[in-house]
Symmetry: C2
């Protein structure tokens, strides 16, 4: 059996390991929280920092392959492991490009992939010096995740909230729609595209609110989405699963926003909604099996279950029974002991051939299910 | 989080634990093989015998609930645990009835559930004394599993192969079809029936060969299947998942063959083919959640992957790549290190709205995939 490790033990690791149990593979997880969602679902759990060179190197030494569930890992260790023959998904070179927002934007430019105009800023002073570039979005170069490290600047007054660190200032695009495109690519360069997904974001937390697959966009727009996503993934020259996030403006122009070089929240519906889920697909790639079929079984929506504002502590899922009585609904609770405001605690998938049914149920689930803290849980 | 244990760590435990990761639950497994398919997928693994009173009692003490993945467990320990407040799925009383083939047949008679005629035999001599009852099937009262403990006796010459132990001699029914009916029942007595399944058996190993859901039977026959299955499950007076196996004879009469008080091979297609799989459903029951929806998403078939004759040792899945290229096919390899002839090593699920497509692919998979041993694996 191949021995494959995952850096990070959150919900992505958890769902990867659920899928791994369909194949002959020995699994390893590195994460500094032994209570993390993935810790109990692998053959071998190592408690340690995914950011520490020596820890990552020792963890990966002797494994056949490694993957990540978050970008903020020690890339130097991955490069050393790769040089010693461990397969890394994605390749450290692709990870380097993506985990730094400046390099990522420059990469899009080099690949002639349409992306929002940007300038590089070294610190807060540089943002002030470029106030004429507003309205814009300031993104920190390194360490942003799940809505952190992003600051919207509609006017000069907002500059003070900017990051006093290297990053980019990106022209604000008048967004009509946000789209995610999951792409799978194997060692041979064979590619499979999942149906593109419509994403609807929460304006406050900047976290995915709900999403529908397939996206409801004109065919020609879809072609642009697919063409740009393919250009990004081919340019990165790495096998793996990639989630390309794109904007469509009012004129129907498509822009690449950013890329995640891993399984992604925008692909969770694929567990029930597609023949080969994004998690199944990544195992196929890492185990050297043929690529799976990304076709949809039925159209799907997902709703993220986030920790309620004002609640921090042991998680209680208020309204879960109500959601569990809904037809054609699949519950995924990530098993995190504690909730906090905005924390991703689970997601709910809805399958239906009727788009209105998907939207209606997504809203009902949002209203019904709250992650709160409660005494005696 | 509720703490729930499973007695046994084979593929049923493995698939139960894959499903458990969708819910907030702390999982425990007891099994005497630390390399078993479920060992690495639970929070707490205990190495020990599920047949030993003290081991089972100590394992279950303090847990909220327990379930089984095989009938041959220590029932006395489960009774003591039940008396002390641990919920057991199925109830030990139901397990006692089912795990002894004599009691099981008597139960069907009491419930006025049609079942093949039978007589009780104490030993081989008793079979000889009842040679007039042939053609018949001799089933050992206790300890039979997966085709073991069953001996077909078409004529007197076959009597010598009978069991010299308490059991039953069951009149042979001219079987037209074999059907499985999975039934879910919760604490409140609410019941959900899965679509009945057509089972096709291998005449040599007496192990499920392939199955198709839903069964292709006339509506009135289906009503009989459902009515008999309901009578069995209601008579057992226990929450849980039950798989009722039935025969249909040439005249369209329906007979209950036997019942498994647990998740069952005949329900594996429900992982992809039904909204709430049998594994999901059992967690809903044990966690006190509402019952799920057993409706089919698409018609499904499964093919069991059995160890090839003449091969014992480290398992190699010859032809797996070919199966993985087939459309609408889901692979489940149980991760057992060693294969042996007839051992259940995995199963493959096929989804299709076209019944011919299901049958065609099932046969292609049978021909393509062989579990063998190979040097240097």
């Amino acid at each position: 059996m191949k021995r494959i490790g995952i850096l990070g033990g959150g919900q992505l690791g958890r769902m990867l390991l659920q899928a791994a149990a369909n194949y002959p593979v020995e699994t390893y997880v590195l994460e500094n929280d032994p209570q993390c969602p993935a810790a109990h679902l692998c053959h071998h759990f190592t408690c340690g920092s995914i950011n520490d060179f020596e820890t990552v190197y020792q963890f990966g030494k002797g494994l056949d392959a490694l993957t990540i569930e978050i970008e903020s890992v020690n890339v130097e260790a991955l490069e050393k492991l790769e040089a010693e023959g461990v397969k890394i998904y994605p390749k450290p070179s692709a990870l380097r490009t993506i985990k730094n927002k400046i390099l990522q934007k420059q990469f899009y430019k080099e690949q002639q992939v349409r992306t929002a105009e940007f300038i590089i800023v070294d610190n807060l002073q540089a943002i002030k010096d470029n106030a004429h570039f507003l309205p814009a979005v300031n993104k920190i170069a390194q360490g942003g995740y799940d809505g952190r490290g992003v600051q919207v600047m509609r006017d000069v007054a907002a500059i003070e909230k900017g990051f006093d660190a290297p990053g980019i200032l990106e022209k604000m695009v008048t967004i009509d729609k946000e789209i995610a495109q999951i792409v799978a690519i194997n060692e041979k360069g064979e590619i499979v595209l999942y149906p593109a997904v419509d994403m609807v974001f929460d304006p406050h937390l900047n976290l995915l609110d709900f999403q529908i697959s397939p996206a409801d966009i004109p065919e020609k727009t879809l072609w642009k989405v697919e063409a740009l996503s393919l250009a990004v993934v081919k340019g990165l020259k790495s096998p793996g699963i990639f989630a390309v996030e794109l904007f469509i403006d009012k004129a129907g122009e498509v822009y690449v926003n950013e890329t995640a070089p891993r399984v992604h929240n925008s692909g969770h519906h694929s567990i029930e909604g597609n023949y080969s889920s994004q998690f199944d697909m990544l195992w196929r790639i890492m185990l050297g099996y043929p690529l799976g079929n990304a076709d949809e079984i039925l159209p799907a929506a997902i709703v993220n279950i986030l920790g309620e504002e004002g609640h921090s502590g042991p998680a209680y899922y208020d309204g879960l029974d109500q959601v569990l009585t809904m037809e054609h609904v699949f519950v995924h609770i990530y098993g995190k002991k504690d909730t906090k405001p905005g924390r991703k605690m689970g997601h709910i998938t809805i399958l239906s051939s009727n788009r209105h049914d998907l939207v209606h149920k997504a809203h009902r689930i949002r209203q019904s299910l709250k992650v709160i803290t409660k005494k005696d849980v």
